[in-house]
């Protein structure tokens, strides 16, 4: 019997079995950022340990970076202290740091692929749950805690249990106006926020075969929102075309032999999956979340559920809690909810293709009065290409604020925050209570084009109607 990509990568990186039955797994590529690494370096210092393979760790700064000021010191002293700490730790340990003055800084999950650091058949870890993004390349990528960041720095390994693999096929054709973001919001709606616990999700089928790398990244990014720590797509020509000529990829003949090696990691046609889920692409609608976890989503033309529609007491309690936080009435249409803020960016949807897709519809349109709309490129590279293509002008003419690269209002560790109970149409990945910086703030997740539609009309709208599909 054949093997899945997960099994092949796992075997190639297994070091040994630990006394508790877990596997000591080699982490080939380690990505770090300013929020979850300083304590790990502190622990190393305390124990007198060195970084074992400094050339296998890459750093950037993303969570706390202000997007509306670039001069240091930043107005926020804590943010300044964090960036300085990372600079110091990287310099002391000879770690490559894509700092703000390199032209390469950005959200860690955008920088890795963009620089060609993210490669098929590799293991990747980062102290951030959206590390699953890198699975789009056929890597096995884990979000880890700070003690494990310490473990990787000191040993280049972590202790893990092997995961089961669930294959998720999405076959058929996505309708115009339905995007990768809708695919993953739909999958989470169907399988739930904890449906993926204990699983790696292998995404495949006609829709994924046709998807670009950036679309695959959007889906893999939110695997953890469905409880799956790992999500991946088997590598194919789309993957290799994306990686060709990237800085940290092999060159010339070496690239060709790397392709042969990478291709062999793809799941075999006769492999065994622990579970199989079939999703019909034709059924996926532009999806919007109405609640306080990413599984609480509906098609844009559907109504928000009522408390009574919950199948169990605990589901009813969850719906009730969500409706209360969102100040929504059960049974009311999701369309027409008035928004205050539109946020376009994040490691889910802050890539060049996201900005391009929206820009082509935005020409000649204006952001509704009273709506604050910001667009935050995912990296300095994205920002610079977008500018060269004139996208920044399209956005600013429409009334969006064009910002510098970073995580920004996805989790509001920088000055970009909701105020009070503002409602935000957001292309990010989490709608938890308080996620966007105000404890009473409200987040509705959707695709970038749906964010733009909401920005222009001032309310949740069907982008296909707003932009005359």
């Amino acid at each position: 019997m054949g093997k899945t990509l997960f099994e092949k990568v796992w075997e190639a990186h297994s070091v040994r079995e630990l006394s508790n039955g877990q596997t000591q797994l080699l982490i080939g590529t380690h990505l770090i950022h300013e929020v979850t690494s300083p304590q790990a370096f502190g622990m190393l210092r305390e124990k007198g340990l060195a970084v074992r393979y400094p050339n296998r760790t890459f750093a950037t700064v993303d969570h706390i970076v202000p997007t509306n000021e670039s001069a240091e010191p930043y107005s926020d002293g804590l943010a300044q202290a964090m960036i300085e700490e990372l600079r110091k730790n990287c310099a002391e340990n000879n770690i490559t740091f894509f700092d703000t003055n390199t032209g390469k800084q950005g959200i860690v999950h955008i920088v890795g692929p963009e620089q060609g650091i993210t490669q098929p058949g590799t293991t990747i870890a980062c102290g951030d749950s959206h590390t699953s993004t890198h699975g789009a390349f056929g890597a096995i990528a884990f979000g880890i805690g700070t003690s494990q960041v310490r473990d990787v720095l000191a040993t280049q390994t972590i202790a893990l249990n092997q995961l089961k693999v669930r294959r998720i096929n999405v076959n058929g054709q996505l309708a115009p106006g339905v995007y990768a973001k809708d695919v993953i919001l739909h999958i989470i709606r169907v399988l739930g926020t904890n449906g993926g616990t204990g699983f790696a999700y292998e995404y495949g089928g006609e829709v994924f075969d046709r998807f670009s790398m950036e679309e695959r990244m959007t889906v893999c990014n939110m695997s953890i929102e469905g409880g799956a720590r790992v999500g991946y797509v088997n590598p194919d020509d789309t993957t290799f075309d994306y990686l060709r000529d990237r800085k940290y990829c092999p060159n010339g003949d070496e690239f060709e032999s790397a392709i042969t090696r990478w291709r062999a990691f793809a799941s075999d046609s006769d492999c065994h999956y622990d579970d199989l889920v079939e999703i019909d692409a034709n059924e996926i609608q532009p999806t919007v979340t109405w609640g306080i976890n990413p599984s609480q989503g509906v098609g844009v033309n559907e109504n928000i559920p009522t408390v009574e529609s919950g199948g169990t007491q605990s589901e009813r309690a969850s719906i009730e809690e969500a409706l209360e936080h969102m100040s929504f009435e059960g049974g009311s249409p999701v369309k027409g909810k008035k928004i205050d803020v539109a946020f376009l960016g994040s490691c889910t949807n802050g890539r060049l293709s996201d900005l391009q897709e929206v820009a082509q519809f935005l020409k000649g349109k204006k952001v509704a009065e009273g709506v604050k709309a910001i667009v935050v490129p995912g990296s300095q590279v994205v920002a610079s290409i977008a500018k060269a293509q004139g996208l920044d002008e399209i956005y600013t003419e429409a009334g969006f604020e064009w910002r510098g690269a970073g995580c920004s209002m996805c989790l509001a560790m920088n000055p970009d925050k909701l105020i009070g109970d503002q409602l935000c149409a957001s292309s990010s990945n989490r709608n938890f209570k308080g996620r966007q910086g105000s404890p009473t703030g409200r987040t509705m997740l959707m695709s970038p084009l749906m964010v733009a539609a909401a920005a222009i009309t001032g309310e949740i709208s069907d982008a296909r109607e707003v932009f005359n599909f």
Binding site: H13, G21, G227, L411, M413, F432
Partner: protein, 199 residues
């Protein structure tokens, strides 16, 4: 650091109701602007405990009857969301040594175990019984018996489940993985030598 074996946890307990209690709820992101984990205990459940003027809201953690609790009880999919270790760190630094829930999000579970926090899964019926006991007498001492996978409180005892590896790590005192990982260094070198992208 040499850890000692964790065979049982004893203490009074507090119930924080709700499914899908996420890591942003456990510790809001703005409190992660720090370079150490010191003091994170003060921010546990901050936005659900306090209003914007830091006045107490109605929350079990503000109920003086549970002030001495060292075991946290909640519902399904506890700790979902971010991989931030700041979440279990804040739980531990606020004085809790164990969490009982219906189920745990995977990364949270691993992070907690690494710190020696016992994460015990108890089904809905079992949790209901436990919660009834502690709400009838918040001072009741509970025992989480890791060896026998039992929660004992008042007149009742209910079974819990925990990943085998985590249980073994707690019982052997080797829940902090670093020392054992360091011991594998020569094996690591061998694996590295076979991986073209590294060597």
């Amino acid at each position: 650091m040499k850890e000692s074996a964790i065979k049982e946890i004893k203490g009074s307990a507090i119930y924080v109701e709700g499914n899908d209690i996420d890591t942003d709820r456990i510790i809001p992101a703005r409190f992660m602007k720090c370079v150490t984990f010191d003091g994170l205990g003060d921010y546990l459940f901050y936005d659900v405990r306090y209003d914007s003027n830091r006045n107490n809201k109605e929350h079990p953690l503000n109920d003086h009857r549970y002030a001495d609790a060292s075991i946290l009880i909640s519902d399904n999919n506890f700790g979902c969301g971010s991989s931030r270790e700041h979440a279990p760190q804040s739980i531990q630094k606020a004085g809790y040594n164990a969490v009982i829930a219906g189920s745990f999000a995977e990364i949270f579970f691993g992070n907690s175990t690494n710190l020696g926090i016992v994460c015990a899964s108890v089904d809905d019926a079992g949790r209901k019984k436990i919660v009834e006991e502690i709400e009838s007498d918040p001072s009741l001492l509970m025992t989480i018996d890791v060896e026998n996978c039992l929660v004992k409180v008042g007149s009742i005892q209910v079974p819990f489940t925990i990943k085998k590896g985590a249980r073994e790590s707690l019982l052997s005192g080797r829940y902090d993985t670093l020392n054992e990982l360091l011991e594998g260094d020569s094996d690591v070198e061998e694996v590295v030598a076979n991986l073209e992208y590294i060597s």
